[in-house]
Amino acid sequence: MTVTPFLSIKNLTVKFGGLTAVNDFSMDVMPGSIHALIGPNGAGKSTVFNCISRYYQPVSGDILFQGTSLMQTPAHGTAIRGIARTFQNLELFNGISVVENVMVGLDAALKRDGKRLSPRQMRLEAEAILERTGLADYRNEQADALDFGHQKLLELSRALAVRPKLLLLDEPAAGLRNREIAALDRLLVDLVRKEGLTVILVEHVMQLVMSISDGITVLSFGQKIAEGLPAEVRQNQQVIEAYLGREGGAAA
């Protein structure tokens, strides 16, 4: 049985000057799955994200999204093709309110569908998204007045407003409390299982990664060192040494 991968990264190499950030990296992500990309700091995870969202141009390699290459798509075209993401270090619109941040994301979805909504309808739709991510109470706050965890959730809300088919999440759980992580866990599972989204997750909170991922790819120093089901990766000796520490106790 062969399913075409939803996103397929082929032999990706990224260099910054003399430094090779990502080396000959390949990864397939199946439709409707949650795929985790993990690895120590500086392993090149965010660099891979930046290639998918077209901020970086790789030296070589290709990225196929639903079977077609992304290499000709400009950065602003990825949202229109259905890819949304969040950043490790927040990239919000700080001068405006929480709900307006989401409305800017909504514009991308409306543009793609060739639809127009009245400002009132847009606001209602944006508020519905905030309801889902648990930010409804903060809708009229300035984006930069939120704490870090909530700003991360706001980025996720804005990404959802784009109505993506593929969602790239760069450390969404950073700064969240345990209760909020559990809510995020439920939300992501909901999005994938019920709405058929595909999610690629870069995350250090292992509890989240292990509980919701369908597949895990491990990067270390720009190289893929392991790939497989959560249980397999957890037991991989190389992974334990490179990433989880020699004792491996931090895994669960």
Partner: protein, 300 residues
């Protein structure tokens, strides 16, 4: 000076100040929208204003076109010229924040080019006067005397700024422009085309400068150096905080009113100093400008 005279001067100063102030406000808005989205001040703003006035003069006097045709054509030419300058020159330089100096030098270059072009045509060799759109019949408002041209300036400037604010706040393109101003990286992420948006911003800025030029030209002497008026647009932008649009409008009105009051109460020779005293006062008392938000605390 008795109270009656003071009251009369106050009325006249505020009324005339609102008129010139609305022009400064237009120019300040044109400057601020570029600064917010391109991260560099446009030092060709004055010469864009000057060239736009000459384009309108040429159409009006040399081609004898009626005002109804001159205004839209002039605005259109200014829009296209400014947008093309962004597309052809600044886009190539790379308009990212990393090369702000290069962008600034390029705008200075444009200012010389425009001034040179106007001089080259010969039209700018002698001072000229620009016909008034609305005529010079006078109206009394309270005890203040304004001309119909003054009233026209005020009404059109306020109207166009209102339209601009509605556009900026309630349309998809306007929202995209604000998003680019706040965070270009995130704007790209949600599908906003930076190049196209910045081009539009430059075009709009050109259009606003052109409108200001057509409105104020009848009240000033036209020379190739008339662009120096725009320094007051910069002054207005600084008073307002340089990144705030309402601030730019407020700054414009303050400068206009201060100029006129100083001219009436102190001396007409003090007029040119007054705006800069106002800037210094604002910057000393409120370094971020009137509506410039909080003073940024740099992370260390």
């Amino acid at each position: 000076m008795d109270w009656q005279v003071i009251w009369l001067f106050l009325q006249q100063g505020v009324a005339s100040g609102l008129v010139t102030g609305s022009i400064y406000a237009l120019l300040a808005v044109a400057i601020v929208i570029i600064f917010k989205t391109t991260d560099a001040p446009n030092f060709a703003a004055g010469e864009l204003f000057m060239a736009a006035a000459y384009v309108a003069l040429y159409l009006l006097v040399f081609l004898a076109l009626p005002f109804v045709a001159v205004v839209p054509i002039s605005l259109g030419i200014a829009f296209i010229a400014a947008a093309l300058f962004y597309r052809i020159v600044l886009q190539k330089i790379g308009s990212s924040a990393a090369v702000t100096v290069n962008v600034v030098i390029a705008t200075l270059g444009l200012s010389f080019v425009l001034k040179g072009l106007v001089r080259k045509t010969g039209v700018g060799d002698v001072p000229r006067s620009f016909p008034s759109i609305f005529g010079n019949d006078t109206v009394m408002i309270g005890q203040a005397v304004l001309t119909m041209q003054d009233i026209g300036i005020l009404v059109l400037a306020v109207l166009s700024m209102t339209i601009f604010f509605l556009f900026f706040n309630f349309t998809r393109t306007g929202r995209a422009m604000r998003a680019v101003g706040m965070n270009p990286k995130a704007a790209v992420l949600v599908g906003i085309n930076l190049r196209r948006t910045r081009m539009l911003i430059w075009g709009l800025s050109g259009l606003l400068s052109s409108l200001a030029a057509i409105l104020i030209a009848p009240k000033i002497l036209m020379t190739a150096d008339m662009g120096s008026v725009v320094i007051l647009g910069f002054a207005a932008a600084i008073i307002g905080g340089f990144t705030s649009l309402p601030g730019a409008v407020l700054g414009g009105i303050i400068i206009g009113v201060v100029e006129n009051l100083v001219g009436l109460f102190i001396s007409s020779r003090a007029i040119s100093v007054a705006p800069f005293v106002a800037i210094m006062l604002v910057l000393v008392l409120r370094p971020q400008g009137l509506l410039g938000g909080k003073v940024a605390v740099k992370k260390v």
